[in-house]
């Protein structure tokens, strides 16, 4: 069954005729060519497919493309544009700059999803502990880094975005 979808992806209006069963992640990758959003586990565990739906981080392998009709989607390709230009670092979102600066990735497969979750956390927080950063990233799995550099990357971005981060003793465990 065909379904018409009118949506905005990274600010661009999009209209497509799609199959009802098409998942959002395949719509983004195959229909729109936005391959920054990755397919990891495909079972809503790993978080590699995380995008924003109306500003909230969701797993796009578990959302139908038909369900984003009249809603707004943001992918990693549009992440930098979610912060004012003055906050960008060489054109990057502070979270992207943080992953660069703090070596928050090795193979990079989980990185887009990690960044989309982290950026949503920062967009909705005034202050955070390192423990809260870890808890927020619970739904994103990384098989390379051991997570500490990722937490450091998010803390780096938090500072650039005016979100204060308390150091706590459990952070290095």
């Amino acid at each position: 069954m065909g379904v018409t979808v009118h949506t905005r992806v990274n600010g661009q209006p999009i209209e497509r005729e799609i199959e009802a069963r098409q998942l959002l992640v395949y719509f983004l990758r195959d229909e729109l060519g936005l391959t920054g959003t990755h397919v990891g586990c495909d079972t809503s565990q790993c978080g590699a497919c995380t995008v924003w739906l109306d500003g909230r981080a969701v797993k796009s392998c578990t959302v139908l493309a038909a369900q984003v009709d009249e809603h707004e989607v943001t992918t990693v390709e549009g992440l930098a544009e979610t912060v004012p230009e003055a906050q960008r670092i060489e054109g990057l979102h502070p979270v992207q700059a943080g992953f660069w600066e703090k070596h928050g990735l090795q193979c990079g497969f989980c990185t887009p999803g990690m960044m989309m979750t982290a950026a949503e956390l920062l967009a909705n927080s005034e202050r955070l502990s390192q423990q809260e950063i870890r808890e927020a990233l619970e739904g994103n799995i990384c098989r390379c880094t051991g997570y500490q550099d990722i937490v450091d990357a998010v803390a780096f971005a938090a500072e650039k975005m005016g979100v204060s981060v308390e150091r706590d003793v459990t952070a290095s465990i």
């Binding site: 069954m1 379904v3 199959e19 009802a20 069963r21 998942l23 395949y26 495909d42 079972t43 809503s44 565990q45 978080g47 995380t50 739906l53 909230r56 981080a57 969701v58 797993k59 578990t62 959302v63 139908l64 038909a66 369900q67 009709d69 009249e70 979750t117 949503e120 956390l121 808890e135 927020a136 990233l137 619970e138 739904g139 994103n140």
Partner: protein, 288 residues
């Protein structure tokens, strides 16, 4: 993984949803956040011929504290419940349980109505709905019906809702007297679902003894249940460690304990007693 093909209807009102359901037939499913249904469809464990999307129906989302209780619309996301001041103030265990579901992204998309209507044997909220004696409000073409939580969960992934009924809101009674509540679970390390989850509500009388005790348990059997023997054993007793531990030995009396690759029957039985003690003790401590 791609779900089997289905027809898709986007309902803008409850009337439209009922009409679509009538057209699509009894096997059609409602879809809200889709975080219970879509994973099953991707694994082809569920192959509904049609989905009726209720996300765009106005008035099914939101949290209101009213005289007759804390009313939560079926489309309210877990994240909103976990962070709601009204919920934290009225029933902290509901906010706790909602905040322990899945992970941040899942809580942003999953809904309370979808969670309860799906009735997964290891889902968190059924235990809470039972312990709080919630009322589930359903609407169908023939009208509105209120179903007590105690009559709602009737089998594995099976509820008292009929095929054409839609769960529209959940109402939690407001506590009165010296009441404390707590939810805790032992999560499966990969899925986050409860291997054992226990929701406890404790009320103490002026003599310091248990006046009322309610314990909802999930993950242990094929559907969530009230640990009534444990509850009855505690009423009229002091909330001592010994009394609670002794009553918690009956935590699985009302169910057939499941076993799977992760937890044997014996291990689940052990965890059920342990988490019943934890939840009850914390509920007593939470009494102000």
């Amino acid at each position: 993984m791609i779900p089997a093909a289905f027809d898709y209807y986007r309902a803008k009102s409850i009337q439209e949803a009922f009409f679509a359901k009538q057209q699509a037939g009894a096997d059609a499913k409602w879809i809200a956040g889709g975080h219970s249904l879509l994973p099953m469809m991707k694994l082809r464990l569920a192959t509904p011929p049609a989905l009726i999307d209720i996300n765009e129906i106005d008035g099914l989302s939101g949290i209101r504290l009213q005289a007759d209780g804390l009313v939560i619309g079926a489309l309210t996301h877990h994240a909103e419940i976990a962070h709601s001041e009204e919920v934290v103030r009225t029933w902290p265990l509901l906010a706790q349980a909602a905040g322990l579901i899945g992970d941040r992204q899942v809580r942003n998309r999953g809904t309370i109505g979808g969670n309860l209507a799906h009735a997964d044997p290891a889902s968190d909220l059924p235990a809470v709905a039972l312990a709080l004696e919630a009322t589930l409000v359903a609407e169908g073409p023939s009208g509105r019906r209120e179903i007590p939580a105690s009559e709602f969960f009737v089998g594995p992934m099976t509820t008292a809702l009929s095929d054409d009924e839609l769960l529209t809101q959940v109402r939690f009674p407001v506590p009165s007297g010296k009441v404390g509540s707590f939810y805790c679970k032992y999560p499966h390390p990969a899925s986050g679902y409860a291997v054992v989850g226990v929701a406890a509500v404790a009320q103490l009388g002026p003599d310091g003894k248990f006046q009322a005790v309610r314990v909802g348990v999930t993950g242990v059997g094929m559907w969530a249940y009230r640990a009534e023997t444990t509850e009855k054993e505690l009423v009229g007793k002091l909330p001592t460690q010994e009394n609670i531990a002794s009553a918690a030995q009956h935590a699985v009396d009302e169910t057939d304990v499941s076993q799977d690759l992760f937890a044997s029957e014996q291990y689940r039985t052990h965890l059920a007693a342990l988490y019943t003690v934890k939840a009850l003790q914390a509920a007593v401590q939470a009494i102000q």
